[in-house]
Amino acid sequence: MKPPVFDYYRAASVDEALDVLDEREGARVIAGGQSLIPLMNLRLARPEALVDIGRLEHLRRVGVVDGSLYLGGLVTHATLCGHPAILRHAPLLAEAASHIGHQAIRERGTIGGSLAHGDPAAELIACCSALGASVYLESSSGCREVPAREFVQGPYSTAASHNEIVTWIRIPLADDRRVGFYEVAPRPGDFARVGAVWCSEPENDKSTVALFGSDCGHMSIELGGDGRAADVLDAVRASGRVQGGLVRVVEAAVKRSMPTEFHE
């Protein structure tokens, strides 16, 4: 099907986009459009106007500053899969992004769009939660930094209000971090039914399990301890929030974990 009629604005700056969002309550932000346009074509979404931020090239940047990896909201999944800084400092994101759709989807879909869309099957929110990332939300009244764990509030529901744009994602880097990723999908590239991300930072005495998937939704469980793999499953069971087959998904993520290093 074709989408309903809407007005289209191409923003030349973040300010311009924010102006439109302030003026028109029914306006939505579009970047890659890989989630929004299918919904519009199916007429499940009917925005009265679209604000295209896809030309804000400065939001495509990636880099490390002061011990944090910064990702612009327009960084595509394909970039996550191949950018040298991400492969070195946050290989979890590269691994997760390689499970998103197919090449054509990854070339246009963006991390900011994935976060703002809030799909329960979205890998990147879970990764950001597990890595202790935060999301910068910009509106005409300023910019706020929201922890990724608090950003997702339910299926397709996030902490961003309609006049805010996801401009940056900040991922704090840590030495001696171990991360693992596992998901179950009917076929590669399909939406995940269930999936788990594990991130442990023994130095900070914490480890985090984040779950995602169309069957289980988003869930983030913070565990103490020294983050040894063997302890994680006991702790996850003890948390009482994960049972049955989901424990095995977490187990698979932990088993496939890999060390990541960060030396500034």
Binding site: D7, R10, L56, E57, G101
Partner: protein, 232 residues
């Protein structure tokens, strides 16, 4: 507000179309430019039959609005061959009987082209299957398609295109001296006005044009030119 002029190059030819904002790139290609090789199947990004190349990257033309293609370089199945000649990938599809009804074929060929281009060595059958996994075929059972792409990967066409390199060169690494959230002092308190990131646009166009240049070279013939200049 609803009709927009859009200028782009399609198969190397500059065109300007006036489109309503709701029109997909696929529909503009098919119904305004009469390039009906690009097929529209599911219109929700699942089937892959509308796949084209936009600025050197595989793109679902049903999930891209025409208005988003302003200044873009678009290549469709029609641009892969000159006159009546078949491109090497198309020829292998013919030889291997890799099509029956033909509806998925343009998307398959375009996807295969990007998959095979810019690689240092030909892909394995497994990689080909993975690369084509976003394209659905209801006739062939995929076997002959994988065979055709595997055979095409032995042609000279694979290396000269240099498109994966063009993808790499489009990575933009931030400069910590640039304004951004990192240049704010200390932790950012909620609701603190932030003006740093505004009004900075237009970066990265150069690398895209690089990809376009190589694409143009590649469609000019199967002549091996090695990897393009300025890739890294």
């Amino acid at each position: 507000m609803n009709d927009h002029p859009v200028s782009m190059t399609v198969n190397g030819r500059p065109v300007t179309v006036t489109v309503p904002s709701r029109e997909s790139l696929a529909d503009s290609l098919r119904y305004r430019l009469r390039l009906t090789g690009t097929k529209v199947g599911c219109e929700q990004g699942v089937c892959g039959s509308c796949t084209v190349i936009v600025d050197g990257k595989l793109t679902r033309s049903c999930l891209m609005l025409s208005v988003q293609a302003e200044n873009a370089a678009v290549w469709t199945i029609e641009g892969l061959s000159q006159d009546d000649a078949l491109s090497p990938i198309q020829e292998e599809f013919r030889v291997h009987g890799a099509l029956q009804c033909g509806f998925c074929t343009p998307g398959m060929v375009v996807t295969a082209l990007v998959l095979l281009s810019g690689r240092s060595e030909p892909p394995s059958r497994e990689e080909i299957r993975e690369g084509l996994s976003g394209n659905i075929c209801r006739c062939t059972g995929y076997g002959p398609i994988v065979d055709a792409v595997y055979a095409a990967s032995r042609h000279d066409l694979t290396l000269p295109y240099g498109m994966s390199e063009s993808g790499k060169s489009s990575f933009v690494t931030l400069d910590s001296s640039d304004p951004g959230p990192w240049s704010l002092p200390g932790d950012t308190p909620p609701a603190e006005p932030e003006t740093s990131d505004r009004a900075r646009t237009g970066r990265g166009r150069g690398s895209r044009r690089g990809g376009l240049g190589r694409l143009k070279d590649m469609f000019r013939g199967g002549r091996p030119v090695g990897s393009g200049p300025g890739d890294e």
